[in-house]
């Protein structure tokens, strides 16, 4: 069979100079030597201009001119070297994230440059106060500082000014309002003082404030960008390629995102359906557990509606792609999602809650200072200067760093523990939960089936079967291969699509596949009525044979994690779309008393809403399409990386790997992060308690302002670093 043509037309972007570009995630890149391997393998392809590997995010970017270039050639060459390429569209969110993070770095560079040079000049002025600096020299230094500070603040302050302006226009107050006000007033006053040959100017404080804040924001953005890049790669590697049938019956492999309504798609046994659609030819049974949570397979035939993400078990299916319409499962889920997401946005972040209270207090304090000094008979100028220095010193530098610094450190620790955060405020919500609701299928149970009766057979026979299974890409065969992960691969195995694999071993033919492929139908029938969620894989080598039973089993550490969560005082519940009896056995194995089975998506949401109405803060963990609305309506949510894309988009965090431990790590790290955030906020309040009275009394010199500001910022940042230290220990020590 010839390999079907590749078509990634939808993902190729066209440059202005007539060149074409494609980004692809690379699977199988394990070490730095791969960079050279891949790039030199592609060096002399005709028409290719640039092939550059990005080792940080494991991606390859290709640029070529139309003439004489074969994209399929690149894929074929790399496939033979053992790398798999998955092209993808850079999600608009990720591109925006990259731009934001670059913009912040630019602002940070300028602010830091300005702060260092102004500090150079300021230090001279401060020392000069004791050694009788020449007033003309002081004026020149202040003037130079102004020349550096004003353009630098105009450029580097943009992120804050924009955000403050947007908040004010929406008649809200956020942390950026007092920041912007403080910076602008400090600069304006300093300019005035410079022009009137005064002794003190506050250019250094204003610019240093911007530099510190930008550093915090940049680190935050960089962490988020890294997380998102990894998530996008994983999504691209898992996104199914679709085999599109042309009008003349020609097969073309295209990325599933490139499918359009009305396209005809062929899905072979063992493949994941790439799109929602209607079966127009063929019959098969589908494993729809990722869609509905139901583990029993559903037989489908012509005319029936099927969903993306379902696993095709037995026969080839031809589908006609259709978009989600009203009345379909997807339509209902989208409607529920919309409703649930609007409920979520009511949450107000800790930092915003603080600033809502803090900003008015600061402004009132400044006003009170000005009035007090006027009453005491000070000149208008002196009263204003004192009021503005109150604004500068209370400008929430430490306060604005308090929360983001912890967020960066904690999300970094989670990232190393295999948890990718989607939402910036998720940490705070994770810390508040008191109830954990699990979906069963794919969440408590492992998303892949595993062999449950390997002990019934000769160990050497199982090893042989596993070695043969490694040659196949069928999900069931891969499950058999996992039963003996270190079995040697049988090199000369050939796969017959939809049937099985075979190879010559010790002069006899070994076959692994469907019972009919191995001539074991009689034995399979003799097993009689098995549970509806058990699949069979047959193996024959000469006269010896085996029938492996596969089903989804609990994740290895599920019981330990559930017990640990319960020990933390969290209530545990299971909500599943699967049959009640299947849920019961899992719930009993885990010792969970509260469980419900056979739930529709809307019923899951209803249960979450009921818990919320009872004042509970729910963490929902689920993977199925049917869990997406429940994830969106819960207080906080997580899903495993094997979940459908809709589900992952609805979750606050996505966790990797075969274990459930990341759920526990997330809860523990978040609680700790919340604690450190509170400490940081307290630290900055204490700082203000000392500094504000000084400013109100008019005793604040620029030197004190600068020292207090950087001192408190450093203190807060150092305190935040403790989160990472302890969380890392947790990640390793977790069961």
């Amino acid at each position: 069979m010839s390999a079907p043509a590749l078509d990634f037309e939808a993902l190729v972007t066209r440059g202005e100079d007539g060149s074409f570009r494609l980004e692809a995630a690379i699977e199988g890149m394990t070490c730095a030597a791969c960079i050279g391997d891949i790039e030199s393998a592609l060096r002399n392809l005709p028409g290719l201009i640039v092939a550059r590997v990005n080792y940080t995010n494991r991606r390859l970017s290709l640029e070529w001119r139309e003439s004489a270039f074969e994209l399929a050639g690149v894929f074929e060459r790399l496939r033979r070297m053992g790398y798999r390429l998955r092209p993808f569209e850079l999600a608009s969110g990720e591109r925006a994230e990259q731009e934001t993070s670059k913009g912040l770095l630019r602002c940070l560079a300028i602010a830091a440059f300005a702060a260092m040079n102004i500090m150079l000049l300021s230090a001279a002025v401060w020392i000069g106060e004791d050694t009788d600096i020449d007033p003309a020299t002081r004026d020149m230094f202040h003037g130079l500082s102004a020349l550096i500070a004003l353009p630098a603040a105009a450029f580097a302050g943009q992120p804050f000014f924009e955000s403050a302006f947007n908040a004010l226009r929406a008649r809200r107050l956020n942390m950026d309002v007092p920041i912007s006000l403080g910076v602008v007033l400090a600069l304006a006053m300093s300019v005035y003082e410079t022009l009137t040959h005064a002794q003190r100017a506050y250019f250094d404080s204003a610019i240093m404030l911007l530099a510190f804040l930008l550093l915090g924001r940049y680190l935050d953005a960089a962490m988020r960008r890294k997380t998102r890049g990894v998530a996008a790669n994983l999504a691209a590697l898992r996104a199914p390629l679709a085999c599109r049938l042309g009008a003349d019956g020609r097969e073309t492999m295209i990325a599933a995102t490139g499918l359009r309504r009305g396209d005809r798609v062929l899905a072979r046994p063992g493949e994941v359906l790439p799109a929602d659609g209607v079966v127009i030819a063929g019959a098969s049974t589908l494993d729809e557990s990722i869609v509905t949570g139901e583990t029993a397979r559903r037989p489908v035939s012509r005319g029936e509606r099927v969903y993306a993400g379902s696993l095709n078990h037995d026969g080839a299916l031809t589908l006609e792609v259709e978009a989600a319409g009203a009345g379909t499962l997807l339509g209902e889920i989208e409607r529920l999602l919309e409703k649930a997401t609007s409920a979520r946005s009511r949450y107000v972040r800790l930092a915003d809650r603080v600033s809502r209270f803090y900003a008015p207090v600061v402004h009132l304090a400044a006003l009170a200072t000005a009035l007090f000094w006027l009453w005491r008979g000070a000149s208008i100028h002196d009263a204003l200067v004192t009021a503005i220095s109150v604004l500068i010193v209370t400008c929430p530098c430490a306060l604005a760093l308090a929360v983001p610094a912890v967020q960066v450190v904690a999300s970094g620790a989670l990232f190393r523990g295999g948890v990718l955060l989607n939402a910036a405020d998720a940490l705070e919500r994770f810390a508040q939960i008191d109830t954990v609701v699990f979906d069963k299928t794919g969440t408590l149970t492992s998303p892949h089936p595993s062999v449950v009766n390997a002990r019934d057979f000769d160990s050497e026979l199982v090893e042989l079967a596993a070695g043969l299974a490694r040659a196949s890409s069928h999900p069931l065969a891969q499950a058999v291969a996992r039963a003996r992960p270190d079995a040697p691969l049988l090199a000369d195995a050939t796969e017959e699509r939809g049937q099985g694999v075979r190879a010559l071993v010790d002069g006899a033919e070994a076959r692994l596949g469907s019972p009919s492929f191995c001539k074991l139908e009689a034995e399979a029938d003799a097993l009689g009525a098995l549970a509806p969620d058990v699949s069979l894989v047959a193996f024959r080598h000469g006269a010896r044979h085996a029938l492996f039973q596969l089903r989804q089993t609990l994740r290895g550490d599920a019981a330990v994690v559930i017990a640990a969560l319960a020990r933390r005082g969290l209530a545990i519940e299971i909500l599943s779309g699967d049959r009640a009896e299947a849920v019961r056995s899992i719930a009993e194995a885990l010792g969970v008393a509260e469980w419900r089975g056979a739930l529709k998506p809307a019923e899951k949401v209803a249960r979450i809403e009921a818990l919320r109405a009872a004042g509970r803060k729910v963490l929902m963990v689920g993977d199925g399409l049917n869990d997406a609305p429940a994830l969106a309506s819960a207080h906080a949510s997580m899903s495993p990386i094997d979940a459908t894309q809709v589900t992952q988009a609805a979750a606050d965090a996505v966790f990797l790997g075969e274990r459930l431990a990341p759920v526990l790590t997330t809860v523990e790290t978040s609680v700790q992060a919340q604690w450190v955030m509170r400490q940081n906020l307290a630290l900055s309040v204490i700082y203000n308690l000392f500094a504000t009275p000084l400013a109100m009394l008019g005793l604040l010199t620029p030197l004190i302002a600068a020292a207090a500001m950087s001192g408190s910022s450093l203190l807060v940042t150092l305190n935040a670093l403790r989160t990472g230290g302890r969380a890392r220990g947790l990640g390793e020590g977790a069961p």
Partner: protein, 52 residues
């Protein structure tokens, strides 16, 4: 004190050169693949080419 008249501008100019070269390196994508840059310096593909 006239020495300040050229020392201060000189200090600022040097800092400005540093800033500009950082902005240039940022714009030309040198911060896009930090791990890759660290590893590429170790690969000997340029030497292999000379041998050929």
């Amino acid at each position: 004190m006239t020495v300040l008249l050229f020392l201060v501008p000189l200090a600022l100019a040097l800092g400005f050169v540093g800033l500009m070269s950082f902005l240039w390196s940022l714009k030309s994508g040198q911060y896009d693949d930090l791990d890759g840059a660290a590893q590429r310096v170790l690969s000997d593909d340029d030497i292999e080419e000379e041998r050929r």
